[in-house]
């Protein structure tokens, strides 16, 4: 009987927690969409957004900054960046071609 009550308690708590988490994600998504819509930099002309292939520098900001502060290319030399990007490609699960573009950018700007 106690186990049944305990089990019910857990199920209830589990359900509540799941609902709260899902609600938080939905609210955050809505908040993000609102801010994105209000962002003047995201505005496009009447012909719609112009799609272009992202550069290594752009991919670097997109992928690297979401987990840590920006690391300046001059902090490491070219060979070190190659090792670090191999490490980050595995750790952050980056697509190979995008990781190579980022590496190309880092090497171009790397310290000597």
């Amino acid at each position: 009987m106690t186990n049944m009550k305990t089990s019910r308690f857990f199920r209830t708590s589990f359900t509540r927690a799941t609902a709260r988490f899902a609600l938080a994600v939905i609210l955050a998504g809505g908040f993000a969409a609102t801010l994105a819509a209000a962002d003047p930099t995201a505005a496009t002309d009447k012909t719609g957004p112009v799609k272009k292939k992202l550069t290594g520098a752009e991919l670097y900001v997109i992928h690297c900054n979401r987990c840590h502060q920006e690391r300046y290319p001059t902090e490491f030399n070219s060979a070190q960046w190659q090792t670090l990007m191999t490490h980050m490609r595995v750790r952050a699960n980056l697509p190979a071609k995008q990781a190579k573009e980022v590496l190309k950018y880092m090497k171009e700007e790397a310290g000597k």
Partner: protein, 459 residues
Amino acid sequence: MKINFSSRRLGTAAASCVLGLAFAPHTSAAVSDEDFNTLKDMVQKLQQSHEQDQQQIQKLQTQLGDTQTQVQKTDATVQAQSTSAIRDALHNFTMVGDAEIQFAKTLRGADDSNGNPHRSGFLLADFAPIFLYRANDNILFEAGFDIMLNNGQANGTLLNSETSYTHDSGSSTSVSVSFAQLDYLINDYITFVGGYMLLPLGTYSERSAGFLNKMPDGPLGREFLPGAGAGVQLRGAIPIGDSGQMLTYAVYGANGPSSVDGSGNAYTLDSNGNQIHNLDLGGNVGLMSDGSIGNMHTAPSGGGRLGWFIPWGGAHQDLEIGVSGQTGVWDDAGNHYWTAGVLDAALHVGPSFELKGEFINSWYNTVDVGRVHPWAVWAQAGYKLAGLNLDLPVISDIELVGRFDKENDGLGTHIQRYTVGYVYYLTNTLLFEGDYEWLHSNDASVPASQLILQLSYGF
């Protein structure tokens, strides 16, 4: 006399000329046209041969010049390659990592044995290097260590009484391996990982370094999951379009949790007779410290994660969601299963705002108390004041953070916590973090509130 001699000579010469002129037409007529043409052809052929020889000589001279240039280039290349090889041999080995110093002040809800609810001091000093060795473009070996200063402990008995005590005495240093893995990039979509791996259950275990977390301590509930495991893994990413959007995956087999006493009971006793949880989520590698082979269950556990990363407006505007899980037996007999499932999400809205969190759910069956169901949830938000464009040097380097987390261990203990804090970016990798936490729990050993300050450096 002299004149006579010259006159005779001149006469002889004149006579010879006359004879020559007289006999000359007769001599020319002796070479036939055929001989002449043959001779002419021969001369022409000799001329052609001479011209060909000249051309050949020019060609050979040109080739010699090219060869000399090529040799010079090759010499330069070889020299550059040997220099590069020496440089690469040195630079293939790289060290990154992080280091932290913490100060904490805690306030307990109830007075401790000394009647003083307050405690404060420098909590830890931690150095966590990651060594990277890149053998070539496709092979990387990486190992992370955690070197931490711990308090030593002395036991004794109070004078004039039989009351025993323990006292912090001196210090000791612990060194642990956080992970040690070989990465082999098979192709653009599949990477093999083998060794002692960080497990992709949620994202926190792979992004938990002090300068990444933005809080001096970790969220509740992560102790319900193994952070690392010995095994093998396949992982990779599939890009979607050119916007940076991608699907990520990881599947692995690893030695799962184990039982402290080998049984499937929820509790067991430690060497001091204290009751402890029997489930051990720590690294289980089968090989015992004395070199013998221990129990390795009937089979390793299996797990994985699927993630979806969606940038929608370029940099700093993205959503990442993921679902992950692991299951496998945990007792020595292999009769009882431990299973976990994690939902994770991270949102960035502009360069200043971040929201991330995880929902952690796990179950394991026991002999004595049936199914145990630990679970936890945490959500953390951060806002960089630089987003306000105040142009104030110190204020603009601060990020405000807040966190809510809650856990229930499934065995009667629950904790709920509210945290507010800040990160002051001294540099891009040197962070001065602080937070204040309010905790609510039915466990008296959990402090009512605490202040934690941390200096964190990522390198």
